[in-house]
Symmetry: D2
Subunit: 350 residues, 4 copies
């Protein structure tokens, strides 16, 4: 590949919230350029009308239909469609020879029965499940590198998995309760009563008390049985951000020093995961406010009685929780340095 | 009327934003009780499901259709329907012998041509315009007392008129530019892209640069030609609240002392209008944050070069800007003390 | 007592956040009037300068020093001073023959050793502890009625206790984890880096991971050993509001029907506690947004596997979590109807 | 200069709000590296404790005192100190041979009398005023390139000047009223009652009714007499962002087409100024929400009666309004491409 020749990407569902964030990232990616922003509902509309913050980056470029898009010349597709409607599009793209990152839930779960249980649908393309890599590089870098199809990762699952991955790998988890709070962009770009400003503003709603469906990903990827897991999802007043508070009961007593070693071992090599220091104490637990606009994941923890561990993680749901991890996976799949296009600083205070 | 016998009120459009605020007020009004909460779209739904903050006040009461409502036994109707669809309902209610407060724009403007200009509709019932009183008691108390039909008042018009009423009455206005900022509840309860939380949150949008249609009310009621007026409307990050900044050019030089006298003369007798003191200076200009949940209107001003006056007013748009003034008018129409049911303290800080 | 003769109240610490809320409530209380707003730091300042939303209610009234206040003619004192500096003032007031509601933490805990443990201070007046009633009427109405000294209640403790009181009374609690989120007014009126708007806005900070000190009140009042309890405190983006999520492990299996019976039995008689219905599901768990400005406490719950119960409560921390419960206690102590002055409707949406 | 050898920068006042933003930008600047973050009050504290979002970029680096800083090896200094305390530091740095960008107000105004009028101080170093370049590249690129001392620009002045610069250059302005709204970060990092979250949250305060002191910069740089200008400053609920609404009375009638030409001529070559399109109308006027975290300035306008023009501009006050323009100037002074380090995409929606 010539130095000046970039990989060509198409985005399906480019008018949505995650589609917009993919465009935002790729607007300044040095090695991937967007050759088509596909949207059924916005076909013909300039990108800058739907995503006005991106006007200067995509001058003269309109949303197109799938049929208008130069699919066959593309190297990679990002699919940001709702679950259920994604799988068949993915199949077409794979057949056309593209690498695919699918941000929907369709290829996150290996087992079609599990998919049916949580999403209430027969999986449209169970034949493709085996080849799909779960797209969280911190967990699955090896598979992603060689995959043609990588799933996106649920934003709540991302925050949850990153919080407890080191403990799960070390086999230390007796049980975990995940308390997850999310900003309003998690619900997407489509207006609804629940996201109507007068009602959503400063709300603290319990969206799901015990078993949010992103739990299925946590269970599968960390090989933890559902009986040991619960996940509550609530809203918080913010547009971006997911914070996961993981109350972990360990299956063996540990010192704080040992815990630090475990977390450092896993995360010291990760470019986007940042461990919070124990001191000063008010910075021990991460706040999503500290990562807005960036691909960072912050993780911090404290130990009580050597057996109960509170681990807190914070991400920007549109970045590390969706489009950021997707581009990170794409970088791996295309042989580009993993961090390319994703090193933007957090915007703080904001 | 017996001491324990309350006036009976029906509310049309009771599931909307203003309808909810009428219910909130009347929930504890000592002399008016709601006998029907009418809503086409929510018929059969418990009031407490749509307005969960009112659950305890309207236990067992559901929204009903117009036909199910005990219209003929009612004394008064509050009509909180969109403009255009209100006028015919008002006519029916008047024929049924009720007094009516119409919160839509249908009976604010005396002249059907003016109505057509600003609302783009032929007025459905121009015959009723003459008898309708413009429902801002501070401006029009006398007419309201004897009216069978009182209009509500536009929230931006309320804030604007209260800011400059004393100057207009004194014939001192050369010209006025009104810069109005409003919270998200002004746009009503129906979800839309513009009010979708991720997009509306912390937005500062210019909704209308020069000539918001509430200007028509200001012009008519203060007898100021449109050439002397302009009104910009912008959004602010809040659910409730309207702030009007009136940049007034006076037609004669005045001292600050004279200005105070003019404002005090008009407002010292008003139960809901509160003049802000000149000192300390940071409290001189009112902030809507200081009136949330109350029927208060705050007014403050400063003078420059004896000829330019900045007058600022602040109201809660759902209260003094809509439901509060409507109940205030209803109290007058029914011979109840004007402040009844409307004396709730502002909730600050909130 | 004559009909027109009100009880006389003095407020110590009247310039603070809770002091302001006491003034807000008492501004329209029909049977208690404020005869002195005492503040060391603001002595001589008009009340309306510090609390501009209350200007119209306390025209011409300034903060005074303790020595200037008509203590001896007062019937009751509300003490809104920081813990540690409150106890000696309380003693003086009791000696002067007043009834006292102390909103600090000084008289919440019966045991001076426990007080020392959590607050790091020797209790200034342990001799008064025995006579002090814990001021949560829902828990302790009988004692409050006959008390001369009633403590306020920690806002996080109020939300927590109200969530699990019915279960605790029924002896059903094996263990409880309390996850509490609070608005910024909980930290008081004094500026600090943590409450500085650019840093506090939209923050989601873990303030205390395991053992917030309000846990001591929960443990004492519900007679639950600390080993069975934990309390995490976090910030949320709001000025008012506390939400407590109680993850309760029951010590015996229960049906949802039995749970409802237990909660209804406790709360159906309570004027300020409102149980949330199971349907529609999005209203099952309370949101503080629904109670702003009111003295309400909302409680809702769900059951999982008959053994794990999530109970959620929501209050306005300045009202039911502080000044509201204090006035409720004062009403009981003075023989006034318990709800007097406290029936204001929640302001929603806001 | 070797390819790998970066320019060395020191920052004075690095612990403040603007200091933090300079660090945020320079953390990833390819040609400038920070060799000392100077702060009197935070000396010895790790940068990542005060600016936790920057922890990973400045590992192991603490704030230092001026005396500890390697001033003599530095190429450039950014001075982010309060006005009045800045000028003498600037003089020392210039004497030490550094280029200096001073973000305080000390070198914005050419005339020490004007400085005294607006800032109430005798200028500490009037001798340096003549050589200082006003640091808004869009206005003053030529001078900045050759300057050793460049001033920062007031954030409200930046937004105001960029709104009306094309009209001023064309000599078309009869008079302008500037209505400016600003987020809370404009007031800096030091806690105060006005910026205390419960009071600042969602406030809409008129900070200055007629003559904010940034007007002095607008008047000087656009060569418009103060009699033709006024500037109101208000707060808005946001952490970042300044929006200026300029109500311009033109001194000659113009068509909208002519206006477009004037604005395009000035701004089509500017890398950070973006003109908003006339269609769709809801994007015509810029919202600061669209530029958070970026160095962009958005400008949009509409014309009424060919003589009155509303021009609206929006910037991120910490970026284009302070640290962004400062780095842009530094790039010019050092011969680096002007946009280096400043091309970060806006974070939207957020």
């Amino acid at each position: 590949m010539h130095q000046n020749q970039k990989f060509k990407a198409v985005i399906l569902g480019a008018a949505g919230m995650t589609g917009g964030e993919l465009l935002r990232i790729l607007a300044r990616h040095s090695q991937i350029s967007v050759t088509a922003a596909i949207s059924k509902s916005k076909r013909g509309t300039p990108i800058g009308v739907t995503h006005p913050h991106l006007r200067s980056y995509f001058q003269g470029m309109n949303f197109v239909s799938y049929d208008e898009a130069p699919i066959n010349e593309a190297d990679i597709a990002f699919v940001a469609l709702p679950h259920g409607s994604s799988a068949n599009e993915v199949a077409k793209l794979l057949e056309a020879g593209l690498k695919v990152v699918d941000l929907s839930a369709d290829f996150r779960l290996n087992d079609p029965e599990v998919y049916r249980h949580w999403y209430g649908l027969d999986h449209p393309r169970p034949d493709l499940l085996e080849s799909a890599a779960y797209g969280l590089p911190e967990l699955n870098r090896g598979k992603i590198i060689s995959a043609n199809l990588t799933s996106g990762v649920g934003c709540n699952a991302t925050a949850s998995i990153l919080a407890i991955l080191p403990l799960a790998r070390a086999g230390l988890i007796e049980s975990v309760h995940l308390d997850v709070r999310a900003g309003s962009s998690e619900a997407g770009a489509r207006p609804s009563t629940g996201s109507h400003h007068p009602f959503r503003s400063r709300s603290a709603r319990i969206v799901e008390p015990f078993s949010h469906r992103h739990l299925a990903e946590v269970s599968q990827e960390l090989e933890l049985p559902l009986e040991k897991l619960s996940m509550r999802l609530s809203t918080m007043e913010a547009v971006r951000g997911v914070q996961a508070c993981a109350d972990v009961t360990l299956n063996t007593k540990l010192s704080e020093k040992e815990l630090w070693k475990i977390y450092r071992t896993t995360y010291s090599v990760e470019p986007f995961v940042e461990l919070c220091p124990a001191r000063p104490s008010h910075l021990r637990f991460p706040d999503p406010k500290l990562v807005w606009g960036s691909n960072k994941a912050l993780v911090g923890f404290a130990l009580k009685d050597d057996i109960h561990c509170l681990v807190v993680s914070a991400i920007d749901n549109l970045m590390k929780g969706a489009a950021g991890s997707a581009v990170q996976s794409a970088n791996l799949m295309l042989g580009i340095p993993e961090t390319e296009g994703l090193e933007m600083q957090p915007v703080y205070p904001a």
